[in-house]
Subunit: 218 residues, 2 copies
DNA sequence: ATTATATTCAAGAAAAGTATTGAATTATTG
DNA sequence: CAATAATTCAATACTTTTCTTGAATATAAT
């Protein structure tokens, strides 16, 4: 293999990886799987995809070493291949949100619409978490909370939010988080709670970002 | 805009960025531009692309905020948009080379073929650079050296290598570098020099990686 | 002004990616 | 062992990306 062939092989391989990432549905699947493993059915339930189509997308991700799978009974459970990939994915998101003007604008509009513009960063959360008067709510489905959650967080799926929160004082500062910067569950929580008069903000990031940060600080 | 629309808008935008990156020629162009600005002609000269085709690829990169351009006389000079992108690009390369088995294998084979398997890492270089007996060679074209180079490096374009090196002692340890992990100029240098009996290794990375590392350590 | 040069534009053909449909496969359950 | 359920496979139509070709544009030099 000469120099030109070597370069071509490397760039072709690299482009293949990026092609696997360059589809909106596959990106959404990646975000889903960053919350923990999911069956094909599980992926279908939280997207607009048909079963066959979701399966195809998952195979593209698998063939490009982005996800792995294990079989149990009828089900095939997919999960992200490793934390190195998760870290890369988050780098991409972070770059896109801060450098692509259009995305930055869309994100800001969403936050404004939900009165969640005053989002708290992970770094800031760390310095607040020791404060007893801060209540950290994980508003994802409880299955995702069980796979892993930010230390000290209480599981409070958005569906149970209004009924479960009756007991809490309005003096407490509430911080809600979910899957990441694109996840709207925390926005919904902020909107619902602020309408009821609670002091509430969302976390800018989500559980996966916290997890990567934890593992990097060890 | 409801939650579903917001998510779709964000993932569509993200996929658009990744689509712009998911072409081998555009990746090669990005590597070229990470050495400093280049005209369309300059890009064409170091790839297999036609002028019109290179221009099209450059426009895709520009429309996706990956490169920027300035006009001077007949020429339009393109360069990477900022160091945040360069850092992201390098993260992608690093991930691909260490986690995609096929790419890792191809890279190793290339290094083996050129007797450059014992590559030196940037970290290691830093601790060696104070050693007077180490000679650091920048084997890129001199125009790229002039745009920027690793501190302490000597410009030694591969074309002038054999004639210029006559004066150097074979006791000195030589380290050659070029554009990055996929760049074959350093491999060529290692092969040529080791055949002549010099003690020579290549740097695993290249100038852009050094540059990003410098700016991060400030 | 005319000519030359670098780049971009526009249109069409070829190649690759995507969604849909229904059948096939694999493992579990009765 | 037949029936059921989750997933995958295969074929097709549709869309998008890519390369090629030749013309158009813009700037500099004569």
């Amino acid at each position: 293999m000469n120099g030109r062939e070597f370069k071509d092989a490397m760039y072709d391989g690299l482009a293949k990886l990026l092609k696997a990432l360059s589809n909106p549905y596959r990106l959404e699947i990646i975000e889903m799987l960053s919350q923990g493993e999911k069956s094909v059915e599980g992926v279908v339930n939280s997207t607009n995809l048909t079963v066959a189509n979701a399966s195809q997308h998952l195979q593209v991700l698998k063939n490009n070493y982005i996800v792995k799978s294990r079989k149990e009974g009828h089900y095939v459970y997919y999960s992200l291949i490793n934390d190195e990939f998760l870290s890369l994915y988050q780098h991409i998101i972070k770059y896109a949100v801060s450098e692509i003007a259009e995305l930055e604008k869309t994100l800001n509009q969403q936050r404004k619409d939900n009165k969640s513009l005053n989002a708290v960063s992970l770094d800031k959360l760390n310095s607040m978490i020791h404060d007893e008067s801060v209540l950290l709510l994980d508003v994802r489905p409880s299955i995702e909370y069980e796979f892993g959650h930010i230390m000290g967080a209480i599981s409070m799926p958005i569906s149970e939010l209004m009924s479960k929160l009756k007991g809490f004082s309005k003096d407490k500062e509430i911080i809600a988080y979910c899957r990441g910067p694109f996840c709207v569950l925390a926005d919904d929580a902020v909107r619902l709670l602020s309408e009821k008069g609670y002091k509430v903000r969302r976390l800018d990031e989500g559980y996966p970002e916290w997890k990567v940060k934890q593992s990097e600080s060890i």
